[in-house]
């Protein structure tokens, strides 16, 4: 799934509980009471997944912040987005649904 390279935009699932704790994002899915933790770089990406910014835009910021190649940053972001979407932590930006699915 090429979630960002093809221009798809993603946003946080609005039903989630989440908070930044000491620089790292903690997320709870209310439908299954699962706790998720993101590391620092994943947290950087999470905060920018707002349904408006593209993967390339976020990759540019990530590369500048962490001194990595933009293409490597974009690859990491695509992998992360795929994982987050598979856990229903992200929903497509054009999907207004807040369905609580298992």
């Amino acid at each position: 799934m090429s979630t960002t390279a093809n221009g798809a935009l993603w946003r946080k699932n609005p039903i989630l509980a989440w908070r930044e704790i000491e620089g790292e994002i903690v997320i709870i899915s209310p439908n299954n009471s699962v706790l998720h933790e993101l590391n620092e770089t994943a947290s950087f990406v999470w905060k920018r997944l707002d349904g408006r910014r593209s993967g390339a835009e976020i990759a540019t910021g990530l590369a500048a912040e962490y001194d990595v190649k933009p293409e490597d940053a974009l690859g990491d972001i695509e992998t992360l987005v795929e994982e987050l979407a598979s856990r229903q932590l992200l929903v497509p930006a054009d999907n207004p649904s807040t369905e609580r699915t298992e």
């Binding site: 989440w18 709870i28 699962v34 706790l35 933790e37 992998t79 992360l80 994982e83």
Partner: protein, 401 residues
Amino acid sequence: MSTSAPIGATPLMDGLIARTTCKRVPISVHFDLTYRCNERCVHCYLDHNDHGELTTIECVEVLEQLAAAGTLFLTFSGGEIFLRIDFFEILAAARRLHFDISLKSNALLITPERAARLRELGVRRIQISVYSADPAIHDAITKVPNSFSRTIAAIPRLVEQGLKVKLACPLMQQNLLAYRGVIELAEKLGVPYVLDLTITPMMDGSETTLAHRASVSSLLPVLRDPALHACKPRPESHSFSAREAIPAVTGSAVSSGIESSAYEDLPCSAGHNSCYISPYGDVLPCVQLPQAAGNLRREKFEDIWYHAPQLERLRAIRESQLPFCSRCEIRSYCERCPGLALMEGGDLLGAYERACDLAEQKARLAGLTDPVSALHQERAASISAPTGNEIASLVTDSSPN
């Protein structure tokens, strides 16, 4: 991105608790929105008159301050929360601020429409008070006719919406022998339960509620019952088979976040990574530790949380420094509560009779021969011990930043 492996429930939650305790992040807040109630439970510790509740706007401002301070686990309770006509407005604000939301209610006012709205607003858990499977016993405790049938009728509505429902049953003289019925009721409804042996003094210090407390000797059948192990639910183990290439996310089931070995030498979470807020804006370490550290109508939450002397003193206390309890041979059987030690024993650092008596019974049931708590040993030997105040000055001096 860094690498890590998927891990189970307890390490992940314990890690969160350890970090927030160390950094003093108020990760868990219990917010009573009202003390008004549509039941009059005989053991209730609250004054149900409205003495000036926070307005809707004030409640939302409090939530905004809590979100900024790092609070994730938020419990709305009362009184009966559904008596606030702005409850769903407050709940919607909590949703916008991304809290993990739990509720405590008697469920009398939960209609199918309200249950659906709770789901839409992302409420994850709701704890409902049930005192017996016998309607007569339940209604006699709540003093509201038909309250049992109305409460029980609401539970399937909530379960159907996917909310995690738990029955809470405080045990007292009136319903002591009814606990097995509550367990069977919970099993029939397919929901977990918690039996609570704690009946507390009223928040103003009055001990009228204690007349309903079951004696330690009368609790023996309950203490012997293996079903009581269910009173301490453990988080189920749950881990993801995350791809090696994407180790940035780990998952586990969420527990209450309160009981954890991560607290180590701390008496409990109160004031370390959790606190209580009253309907009038008072900030307390815990609902059972009625020492207001400040009021949100006069001060910002962060100013109270990080700078109130009451909280600083509390944070300096270590279990290993408690004058009696630290040397008690049956400490592992004891569920000492600092708030109850203060309310019932008059000393935040002290032992209190009820906890000592219960610990002795539990130790005896576990096979120990004539177990005696440190408090009772001291009394028997008539040896004076350092007072709580003396120890308090010691721990205050060694308070961390």
